[in-house]
Assembly symmetry: C2
Homo-oligomer: 345 residues x 2
């Protein structure tokens, strides 16, 4: 098990529930838009918000943002350690740096400042930012080079008595991202932040993140996740929640529906979509099945708390494999929602 | 490595490229609609089409469909072995049965018929259809029960001298589906058909299939895949191709784009979406990067054949980490497409 650290009051690692992160994608200097995005993320059940601070102006704006939200905030800083210090002093709950692009002197002051403020630091090494000498030393093997690079940073931090560390090793190549995370999970016991970088627009990004993050979560690797999409940040949270739900790592309705096949007796896609939308944000651990026909329907969903299947202009409702009600197709979906409500109570 | 079998001329297993399947979702008795769906699937690069044959009428319609398409066709039959025999005689390239719901006498005639016609049979056991006695014997452990069930069927088929077998063990639970496929891959050397059953509507289904199928493909497990979605079958093919591409298991443009962050200098989401749509069906092994800013852009995409990044009202184009051109933002996307065409040649 990984060590447990805290971001504000939120535990990360050590068996804590896997938390979901996202990142604002407007300039933090536009304080109103930033706060609006943070608010939207909070409403969509996001746990942690990251904000990029590219310069002094951004660091000043960050301090205003900080005063106007209670969300756990992570400041993302490159190159200039003084910005990290400013962000911590302004109330960042965690900072994210790549130590490789900062001077040692500045890095030391960042570590000291994080230590005295009791906040964690995420050490990030990406496929694109790994130390070139280490890459050469390991004959171009990115997995070995990234792990060696991270080990240098960890040693440096530990030698300075700092251990509130979160690790992240990202890549835009899913297979590489899985290999390198498996490798660091076997070597270190700090909590791990999972993500696929530059995953692309919504559709491709959803697939790449699901494969990469999902594979690792199935291994028991990963303490906090960020689905990176070239899209509205709220979409990142939606995707992250869906990945967690697919592996039973998050409360929610288990929704199953079969692909319509030649046996199907009603407009399954419409019914499934409507019922899915109805249940998708319910935090109830029940299983709802929307099936095409009586052949596979009740039998394949013996463990469904409630199910519906088509039967020639009528629909049957079933519980634990047993049909208990038959209703007209025209009113079936509405009536089925009421059955769900009854069971969810 | 798994054994190699053939569905029509298409090799499955034994190191052959992973093939993509889908299933028509209209009644096969509606021959025109069925042929239209098969045609759409063929145009979307689907390799194999499955059709459900619930009764005699469907089997008759299937023989007409068969005469009007050269796509590899799989007939999906439950309960009635005579339908399977009829489908094989009508020219099915493979049949899919669950031997558990057929009488032994009928099963024998199906095996004989498949043997004399030289076509393979997919043996499917799903979480919902596993033998109840075996489930009891294994104390409710579905993974063990499914594997034991499959072993019975395989033994039965092998004893009759039949070995053109494809295996499939599906579940609507992703974690269970991964465990049971890992288990059968370790036990048998027949090619494996991967899928998550009843995965739900497009969004949830995409995530569940990506996690389940992707995890197994990363293990080197899986010879043919079917993404099951409660949606248009063409969406199933799109999803399957995207999963394969995410793991470099299919030719195509590698597209990376970063999530827009506070550093971004132009409308990245719009540019990324437009460029992604432009390249997504190109079968060229090039890497295209659409990045927000000059900070992460060129550096994080050292291996991109061509990339674009925003820079205050202008965009820079880069190759292998080096900027080689600066253009006005208003014409950047169009000009960038021309650069892609040049490189793809």
């Amino acid at each position: 098990m990984t060590k447990k650290i805290r971001i504000k009051n939120l535990p990360i690692g050590g068996g804590a529930p896997i938390s979901v992160q996202s990142m604002t994608n407007v300039s933090v200097c536009d304080v109103d838009s930033t706060l609006r995005q943070i608010n939207d993320l909070q409403n969509s059940d996001c746990d942690i918000v990251r904000i990029a601070l590219p310069d002094n102006k951004a660091a000043e704006a960050f301090s205003i943002v900080r005063k106007n939200t209670d969300m756990p905030l992570v400041a993302d800083i490159h190159f200039d350690g003084r910005l990290a210090v400013a962000a911590i002093e302004a109330g960042a709950d965690k900072i994210r740096i790549n130590p490789g692009n900062m001077s040692f002197k500045q890095l030391d002051s960042v570590i000291d400042c994080a230590k005295s403020n009791g906040i964690p630091i995420r050490l990030g090494v990406n496929g694109g930012s790994v130390n070139r000498d280490l890459l050469k030393k390991h004959n171009g093997d990115k997995v070995l080079a990234i792990e060696a690079n991270l080990r240098q940073y960890i040693t440096y931090f530990e030698d300075k008595g700092f251990d509130k560390i979160v690790l992240s090793v990202k890549s835009s190549d899913v297979s590489e991202m899985v290999r390198v995370n498996r490798s660091i999970a076997a070597s270190f016991d700090y909590p791990i932040h999972l993500g696929v970088t530059e995953a692309g627009p919504a559709y491709q990004g959803l697939v790449k993140n699901s494969v990469g993050i999902g594979t690792l979560l199935l291994d028991g690797i990963g303490d906090t996740i960020r689905v990176s999409l070239t899209a509205n940040p709220v979409e990142e949270v939606r995707a992250a929640k869906e990945i967690l739900k697919s592996l039973n790592l998050r409360d929610g309705v288990k929704f199953v529906s079969c692909p319509k096949c030649g046996r199907c007796g009603y407009d399954l896609e419409k019914a499934a979509t409507e019922i899915y939308e109805y249940v998708k944000d319910m935090r109830k651990n029940i299983k709802v099945a929307v099936m095409g026909c009586e052949v596979n329907g009740p039998g394949e969903c013996l463990d469904a708390d409630v199910g519906i299947a088509g039967a020639n202009g009528r629909c049957v409702f079933f519980k634990y494999g047993k049909i208990y009600k038959t209703v007209d197709e025209s009113v079936a979906v509405e009536e089925f929602k009421r059955e769900i409500d009854l069971i969810a109570k």
